[in-house]
Amino acid sequence: MTTPEVLAAEADPLLPISSAEPSADPGRRRRGGGLAGYVLIRMLLIVPTVFILVTLVFFLMRLTGDPITASLGGKLTPDQLAERVHAAGYDRPVLVQYVEYLGDLLRGDLGTTISDNQPVTHVLTQYGTATLELTFWALVVALAVGIPFGMLAARHRDRWPDAVLRILAILGYATPVFFAGMVLKLVFAVGLGWLPVAGRASTSSEIAFTDLLHPSGIAIVDAIQLGDPSVIGDVLRHAVLPALTLGLLTGGVFLRLVRTNMIGTLSSGYVEAARSRGVGERRLLRKHAYRPALIPIITVMGLQIAMLLGGAVLTETTFEWKGLGFMLAQYLQARDFVAVQGIVVLLAIVVAVTNFVVDVVAALIDPRVRY
């Protein structure tokens, strides 16, 4: 079998293991199943993934005791504490609480935070957009770095451009996101003063946003709504350092991913056959080798969403970018486990759905699944 997945023969250790294991899902990329069947099966796989994570997180969290004692223990008298615990139903058997929790979850009710008494869903919608914006910018940086430089490295395999790019990618991997963020901040914000130190927009822009009838919560969209170039510029300037911090980390991984898969397809029989017919090297790279390599690249990029979100938590904390990651760190400090659990569940759903979408996109590109 010479599917492109298999052709990614040269395993890259820094890439997720699943990229080295071609058929992660049973029944996948099999002929005869049809696209609709594949999509359906793949969609059904979201359910166990989310269910397992929700269950895991629920029971792990409950192992530490009830959320109210965790958050307010020491601040209230034992009697008051017991009363609050009883009122919230945390003194009932854990299984009863679990079933009730699942029921609430299905209705979209994630409870109320303990530290600031807000519905968790409200927290998620309020801060989720900021995280969405950060991951979007980071993804733009990552793709802009990863794909062209990955192709370049593959083309000049084992020569100096490849060596330099590989070393940079390893360096990118070895630098913790928050440290990279701190160094960028130290140099470009504190030292040179070119860019703002933290936040999503300056105070004047934030005030301008309050005039909007339908604020989207996404700074750049709101700035465009306002139509004020200075606000747009301000928002973009704020996004540069966080996007670079998170994007370069992911970009390094994308670079390696593209390089590995391109090297695989570049040494394949069909590229050699095209070469034997006089097709030029550039066209070989951009058409014959790139497209088959794209399928595993897209699949593995989907798995990188998890890494991106984990990095977002650290990046947001570094740049006081008030998104879910930043709030997660805040709630962790406050020991507000209801809020923590809510955020973790949302991220689990996001990861599962993104992976589904990515797999379907990969399947759409692959004619062996389409026909």
Binding site: P4, I170, V190, R275, L303, A306, M307, L314, T318
Partner: protein, 905 residues
């Protein structure tokens, strides 16, 4: 100990250039990390939680100075000391986390991969769910659970380590599981199962050790990930209390606020420490991964050629003299035709780790206008390298000497391919010379329609409009015999059969109407009935398209069918060249003579000639054993045997064997022939208990095998020997050949351990013409033929009543095959076992079998003696099959071809 040392240094010695630089840097940095961790108390000027010394408190956020080289933190600690002590915490966490995750992950992966089933499914779904989740968040949740988020030294380290462990376990599980699944399909695991080894023995002795080769790489990479996760936890406030241990992430968290006010010295040192530690470990892992496999494999290849000499019964004495073409009167008439390509004194060598290897030495040959020239030779003869040098399609480590003069299609120009620049080479490829490859499914790009791929050649060389290109693609598809080309032009490669794919590959070569087509083993990957059609098509390339053909093949039948003239190559040199009829009638060189003699042939079977009297049924009792075993119960008795492979996700399964009746008498050799997908291998596997029979009845040596398990099977197994197709994989690469041959003896209690079985092993090896010395070698140090003989020895170790040989000679060169077959016949005559001989090669089966059964799509279509089945077949499929086999005799083959084409109309 020294052995461990040399093994550890192995990667370093094998590395070169950049790789060595990376590895050395990585090793130095890693060593530094460990040394700092060990000697932190000596190296650090202060303790990690020291706030004051004799001179009073250090003070917060002090600039670097003589007493505090890197200043102090916001909490008033010495930065340098905390950075150095941080290495201790990091190393401790790495060690605990990795040991724990290996123990759990490897065990789970082994069980999941080996047993499969629902347990596997559940483990994989859970592992996937955990794996898809941001690992840092999971670690946070776990560290809340384990330590409530803050803790003292051991509590903190354990919390961090265990959080990291849970994140890593799914990775180990997946890697080991994937490896186990790979190893499980290798023939040596089947071999162990056939021998009758239990699951635990197979898992520990054969699977586990072969599944852990990627672990060193994963371990190093997880070590770096552990440092990063630990730092991330610390940065988010889930680290270890500063009074309990120094932790880089925690210090960076505290330094975050400093950065805004321009205080750099609290952030940079711990940050750099993390970067260096992770960089060091990652570089080691990265280099190990680079070095681990491919190079080892290449070395094995080289060693194998060293042993291969032993295979060659036909080793020519000294260097074969090249028969000069000039002295050959038979081809005088063709001399006038101009050469399309003329290769002069071509030498090609490859730079390898062990110095230059010469693949082609001073080869001269030419292909004339309208001629089909076949280059034949066994593996390693240099024929493929010679062919590829015509298009200069050689790997980068190849060095070429000599000239390859190619004539342009219009015959106006002739040029040396070796001296072309890049643009000239591109111009030549496709227009003046095109190539047809061996494996059609590998040379078609799976994600583009075939029409697009044909058009690529046109796009590269001609200015045509979109519609013109498409019309040209449709036209060439029609000419190579693809039905409905207007529709099929938009189809993707996977929508075509193997034979059609090869037609498309030929269409691509023909699209630009090149003067020369180089065809490298164009039919080797195809079934024999398809092969006949592709050979016809190649002949049409010459007859109708006017292309000359340089044909590379190892198959003498193909040569006899297609070639006008033949070049025989051996060991990189041209041994002989002659017109095809001359070569087969009167080969000049000893090597050619022996090569031709080694080719098994259906040819003596001339009785199939119409009108000729039916050949007297030869009493095919060549190997009939004398005496006892001839009577008694049959070795195999299959009645209405059905084997169905389960379908996926509720889809109907595939029926590989469909109501087959077979009987094998004691001492008899039954040849089971058929094309790919006919079910012949499945029958063999069902008999050996490797694949369950799903219907009918299957009695093996008197025991019903269908539905049998455990004890019943174990009682039969020692009486069955199995010889596998690929000698490369049927021995566990980590056991010596002697230990491998001893396996059945040990498993069935004939010997306590391999050492005790030594005498018997040597005796067995000698019976297959190997020596005690071979017993000490590892499988990769033997040649293919030697391994297949060792495989025979292992199959015969318990003196079985039944031997199943599944394509035992298909992977071997003809001369080696001849020797193995001879040995087989010998042993059979001596030991008198019954044998099911599975092969796709009718000529081989004809040579060894007493009786032949022909399988087609899971059913037996014809059964009988070789004399009837191969000479006077009655079933239409068998007739077609027999007619399709090219015989190594140009005269006879020409007659057969005419007959076959006439029969087809």
């Amino acid at each position: 100990m020294p052995r461990i040392l040399t093994r550890a240094l192995g990667p370093l010695r094998r590395s070169t250039g950049l790789q060595r630089g990376m590895l050395v840097t990585g090793l130095v940095l890693t060593a530094l990390l460990v040394l700092v961790a060990l000697f932190a108390p000596v190296l650090a000027p202060y303790g990690f939680n020291q706030l004051r010394d004799a001179g009073g408190p250090f003070g917060a956020q002090q600039h670097p100075s003589g007493s505090h080289l890197l200043g102090t933190t916001v909490g008033g600690y010495d930065v340098l000391s905390r950075t150095l002590f941080g290495a201790r915490t990091a190393v401790l966490v790495i060690v605990v986390a990795i040991v724990a995750s290996i123990l759990v992950g490897v065990a789970l992966g082994l069980v999941a991969g080996y047993f499969g089933g629902w347990l596997d499914r559940i483990l994989v779904v859970i592992a996937d769910a955990i794996y898809a989740f941001p690992s840092l968040l999971l670690a946070i949740v776990l560290s809340i659970v384990i330590s409530h988020g803050q803790s003292q030294l051991w509590g903190g380290i354990l919390a961090a380590a265990l959080s990291i462990t849970v994140v890593f376990v799914p990775q180990y599980l997946r890697v080991v599981r994937a490896e186990v699944l790979r190893v499980k399909t290798e023939a040596f695991v089947d071999a162990a199962r056939v021998i009758g080894s239990g699951d635990v023995r197979i898992m520990l002795r054969h699977v586990l050790r072969n599944s852990t080769r990627t672990l060193p790489v994963i371990v190093t990479l997880n070590a770096s990930e552990a440092i990063l996760t630990l730092a991330g936890l610390g940065f988010l406030g889930f680290g270890i209390e500063p009074t309990a241990a120094a932790e880089w992430g925690y210090d960076l968290n505290k330094a975050l606020a400093d950065v805004t006010s321009g205080i750099w010295w609290t952030a940079i040192p711990p940050g750099i420490a993390i970067v260096l530690a992770v960089l060091g470990i990652t570089l080691v892992g990265e280099s190990l991964n680079d070095l681990a496999d491919p190079r080892l494999r290449r070395r094995r290849g080289l060693r194998r050629t060293a042993g291969a000499a032993d295979d060659r019964a036909l080793e020519p004495d000294g260097v074969p003299r090249m028969t000069t073409t000039k002295s050959d009167p038979a081809r005088a008439g063709a001399d006038d035709a101009p050469a399309v390509v003329s290769i002069r004194d071509l030498s090609v060598s490859f730079a390898t780790d062990d110095g230059a290897v010469e693949a082609v030495r001073d080869v001269s040959l030419e292909v004339r206008q309208g001629e089909i020239l076949a280059v034949v030779g066994e593996s390693g003869s240099g024929k493929t390298v010679t062919a590829r040098s015509v298009l200069r399609l050689l790997p980068e480590n190849a060095t070429t000497r000599g000239a390859v003069v190619l004539r342009s299609r219009d015959r106006e120009r002739a040029y040396d391919v070796a001296s072309l620049d890049h643009a000239g080479l591109r111009q030549a490829r496709g227009t003046d010379v095109a190539m047809v490859f061996q494996e059609p499914s590998a040379v078609l790009n799976p994600v583009y329609p075939v029409g697009w791929q044909i058009e690529e050649g046109l796009r590269a060389h001609r200015r045509l409009s979109r519609t013109e290109r498409r019309a040209a693609a449709v036209d060439v598809l029609r000419r190579v015999g693809i039905p409905e080309p207007e529709v099929r032009v938009d189809h993707y490669p996977h929508q075509f059969s193997g034979g059609q794919k090869q037609r498309i590959v030929i269409a691509m070569a023909l699209a630009l109407d090149p003067g020369l087509i180089v065809a490298d083993e164009p039919t080797t990957a195809l079934d024999v009935t398809v092969q006949a059609e592709i050979l016809d098509l190649l002949r049409r390339c010459r007859d109708e398209f006017g292309a000359s053909v340089l044909l590379i093949t190892h198959n003498m039948g193909v040569v006899a069918d297609l070639a006008d003239r033949v070049v025989v190559m051996h060991d990189g040199r041209v041994v002989e060249q002659a017109p095809v009829r001359d070569l087969f009638r009167s080969p000049r060189e000893e090597y050619t003579r022996e090569l031709l003699a080694a080719v098994p042939s259906l040819e003596p079977v001339t009785s199939a000639r119409p009108g000729a009297p039916a050949a007297t049924p030869v009493p095919n009792s060549r190997h009939r054993p004398q005496g006892s075993q001839a009577q008694g119960q049959p070795a195999i008795e299959a009645r209405e045997l059905v084997v169905t492979y389960p379908g996926r996700l509720g889809r109907p399964g595939a029926t590989a064997v469909d109501h087959v009746d077979l009987t094998l008498a004691p001492g008899e050799v039954l040849g089971l022939v058929g094309e790919s997908g006919s079910g012949k291998t499945t029958i063999g596997r069902a008999i050996a208990g490797l694949t369950p029979a799903t219907g009918g009845s299957l009695r093996v040596l008197g025991t019903e095998v269908r539905g049998a398990r455990g004890r019943a099977l174990r009682a039969v197994r020692p009486r069955i020997g199995f010889v596998f197709q690929d000698p490369g994989t049927s021995f566990n690469p980590l056991l010596t050949v002697g230990d491998g041959v001893a396996e059945p003896l040990v498993v069935h209690g004939r010997a306590a351990n391999p050492a005790a079985a030594r005498d018997r092993v040597v005796e067995l090896l000698e019976s297959v013409h190997l020596t005690a010395e071979h017993a000490r070698r590892y499988p990769h140090e033997l040649s293919g033929g030697q391994r297949q003989r060792a495989s025979l020895a292992r199959a015969l170790a318990l003196e079985p009543d039944l031997v199943i040989a599944d394509e035992p000679t298909s992977a071997l060169d003809v001369s080696v095959q001849a020797r193995v077959l001879e040995l087989f016949a010998d042993l059979h005559a001596r030991l008198g076992f019954a044998c099911l001989f599975i092969s796709h090669d009718l000529a081989v089966v004809d040579q060894v079998a007493d009786r032949i059964a022909v399988l087609h799509r899971g059913r037996v279509v014809e059964e009988g003696s070789p004399a009837t089945v191969l000479r006077r077949p009655e079933d239409p499929y068998t007739q077609r099959l027999v007619a399709s086999v090219p015989v190594p005799d140009p005269v006879e083959q020409a007659r057969r071809r005419t007959e076959r084409l006439a029969a087809r109309g």
